[in-house]
């Protein structure tokens, strides 16, 4: 039972507000109390004069009062997901927004609209929405609700309402500019620790991602060779009499092990590879979140410096600083809470992903063992029969 363990693992040095604690308890540790269920499926191709794109069906089932209905079905394309992510980042700059799959894969032969690519993307989009739904704060975000419920034209018109493209650009520019300047002068120790952690984590997770891909590649090459290996024994059995059965038996074992290898490979692509990839993206997201926190801190610091230098105590100025101080405190608390949550989820995800890998390998070896053991039994039975028949007069 993980629920109690997770609550108790909270470090006493990082106070969490009671309300967020209740939310966490509610949405992650007790899935029965979940009241928002989302699935992403049914990719469909759309061809217009200008472009070809894919839409996915998003089905939402909920018992929440804020929702007019208890069930929704909408179709969304990748652009829409990207819009949602940006809106969430805007609204909550120091919260950890779940990763979106990349726009398109540069490396490798995966064609933009291949079945494999679409399925991988669908799965990632499904996880994206569910992680938002599980997040104590983000789950109540208005844009999120609109994303889940609005019909296509409603969404378009809502998108147009928000701050325009130019203002978003401005924000990005400012963010880049201010990240160069400040934020780490008065940075609390804890965020420096987070930064150091993230630097190492980012390195390690990238290497792990590469290793996992390499393993997949080696397994696939092994599978390809095994496909050829079994049939040779069958071919040989055609020229033999006495040992034909043994040869066919070996061929059959090799073929079965070959299939088992295929299952093992599938396990990797379904589980470990996507998770490692998500955490590679997460490490980038977290570095971004830490930068934004620094930047918010930077705004406060520069204003506070200005106050110290000018020595004018303008009421309006003081009010501004007060607001900034609040902003910083909010941002810091939000990040701290979300960080703890992220770490716990990361631990959980990694544990389950690697345990799953171990299980897949166990199944693989157990299946192969059973195959070869039954072959061996059949061969030794024959030997005993031969020996018996020799003894008879």
């Amino acid at each position: 039972d993980t629920s109690l363990a997770e609550v108790n693992s909270l470090s006493p040095s990082m106070p969490i507000s009671p309300s967020s604690m209740i939310n966490q308890y509610k949405y992650e540790d007790e899935p029965e109390l979940r009241d928002l269920f989302i699935t992403v499926d049914d990719p469909e191709s759309h061809i217009t004069a200008i472009e070809t794109f894919i839409t996915y069906r998003v089905v939402t089932k909920t018992s929440r009062g804020e929702f007019d209905s208890s069930e929704y079905e909408v179709r969304r394309r990748y652009q829409d997901f990207l819009w949602l992510k940006n809106k969430l980042e805007e609204a909550h700059p120091t919260l950890i927004i779940p990763p979106l799959p990349e726009k398109f894969i540069m490396k490798g032969m995966v064609e933009r609209f291949s079945d494999e690519f679409i399925e991988t993307r669908r799965n990632a989009l499904h996880k994206f929405l569910n992680r938002i739904a599980d997040h104590p704060t983000l789950t109540f975000n208005e844009d999120f609700k609109i994303f889940l419920t609005a019909q296509a034209w409603e969404l378009s018109s809502h998108k147009k309402q928000g701050p325009g493209f130019l203002s978003r650009m401005g924000q990005t520019v400012r963010a880049v500019a201010s990240s160069v300047r400040g934020g780490f002068k008065n940075r609390p120790e804890i965020f420096t620790e987070m930064n150091n952690y993230m630097e190492t984590f980012s390195q390690k997770i990238n290497v792990l991602d590469k290793i996992a891909h390499r393993i997949y590649k080696e397994e696939r090459e092994y599978f390809n060779e095994m496909k050829e290996y079994g049939p040779i024994h069958t071919l040989w059995s055609a020229s033999e009499e006495d040992i034909a059965d043994s040869l066919k038996g070996v061929a059959s074992c090799i073929d079965k092990c070959c299939k088992a290898t295929e299952k093992r490979m599938a396990g990797l692509t379904e589980n470990l590879l996507p998770i490692l990839h998500e955490y590679v993206l997460y490490s980038e997201i977290l570095m971004g979140v830490l930068k934004r926190r620094d930047q918010i801190q930077g705004e406060l610091d520069s204003k506070a410096d200005a106050l110290a230098n000018k020595k004018t105590e303008n009421d309006l100025f003081l009010e501004e600083i007060g607001k900034l101080e609040d902003k910083v405190e909010c941002a810091n608390n939000a990040l701290k809470a979300d960080w703890d949550r992220w770490k716990r989820n990361m631990q959980c995800d990694m544990r389950s992903a690697f345990t799953n890998v171990a299980e897949n390998n166990l199944h693989y070896y157990e299946e192969c063992l059973a195959t070869w053991e039954s072959f061996l039994a059949s061969q030794t039975v024959d030997l005993h029969v031969e020996e018996d028949s020799e003894d008879r007069p």
Binding site: S9, Y197, T200, F201, K204, V207, L208, I211, R214, I215, E218, E219, E221, Y222, N224, E225, M226, E228, Y229, I232, H233, L235, W236, S239, D242, I243, S246, L247, G249, V250, C253, C257, Q347, M350, R351, F354, T355, V357, A358, E359, N361, L362, Y364, Y365, E366, C368, L369, W372, E373, F375, L376, Q379, T380
Partner: protein, 402 residues
Amino acid sequence: MEDCLAKKMEITVSEAEKRTGRNAMNMQETYTAYLIETRAVESQGEGQCAPVDSLWRRYSEFELLRNYLSVTYPHIVVPPLPEKRADFVWHKLSADNMDPDFVERRRIGLENFLLRVASHPVLCQDKIFYSFLTQEGGWKEVVNETGFQLKADSRLKALNATFRVKNPDKRFTELKHYSDELQSVISHLLRVRARVADRLYGVYKVHGNYGRVFSEWSAIEKEMGDGLQSAGHHMDVYAASIDDILEEEEHYADQLKEYLFYAEALRAVCRKHELMQYDLEMAAQDLTSKKQQCEELATGTVRTFSLKGMTSKLFGQETPEQREAKIKVLEEQIEEGEEQLKSKNLESRDFVKSAWADIERFKEQKNHDLKEALISYAVMQISMCKKGIQVWTNAKECFSKM
């Protein structure tokens, strides 16, 4: 089998040593010498061990022995030598003849060869073989003195016979076909097996990378650290386990290789039969044509067109005395020819009988050995699976504690 040398004498090729020496052209060369140890087996088992005799031989001497046996006993499927050069290698295996693993596997192969010869009902009684095992110096001279090289049929002659023989024994034709198939399928199998081994090696070794990364990652994790670290250790164990597994598999490959080379020995017996049959057919044909010539000369009728016949018509016939002389010569030749044909026929029938007996013996040996090899392959796979289950069970436990 009671007379078999293998029952009376313990034979091992116990060591291999690198040597340098001067070759026939007085150039320095490096080669490997193998120590052959022999000891008489006490039939009563009284507990008294006879002393061990030993001598060193190099690969070329083994080759000489085998050539001698092949020429001297053409009706026997002579056991093959292990490969001269490393073949069917996968990337980790060295193709170098001096590589210690190759030398070790060759040592085992040479021992196997000697045991095969020593347990063969016919070959084990050969004196040259016995002196190979026991006579330290001058053995090469003794072999060459037998003059066996003169008895050897030329390859060209044998090839010629293959294409021209009219009535080979069907069993030998089938056997030749079988040995071709056997050679082809075992080569193919060994090639793919080497590739599979290569890939399997890759899969295991890449897992070793987990060990290092998990260890580095565990340094920044409080709760996950222990689980990661110990899981990493198991991944290292997993990666290391493939070396022994594949080394064992090489012995299986060597067992198959022996029969790949046996296919060549089978073909040699078939070729010998074809050669003898061809010889027989040529002799019979020659006899028939001589008889015909004789008849023509005696009766004066010319049945077949010949240039000689034409020229004699144009330039005048022979005198009766000349014709008499010719007939006499031919009659002598025919008598000789009939004797030769009789003995060739006998030779051929004997050959077929004894060859076929050895082939039956070989077939039984082959079926037994290959079945055992396949069983041992299954045993190896089972062992590999069990090791895998152990490692991943341990790893799973560590991961679940993360």
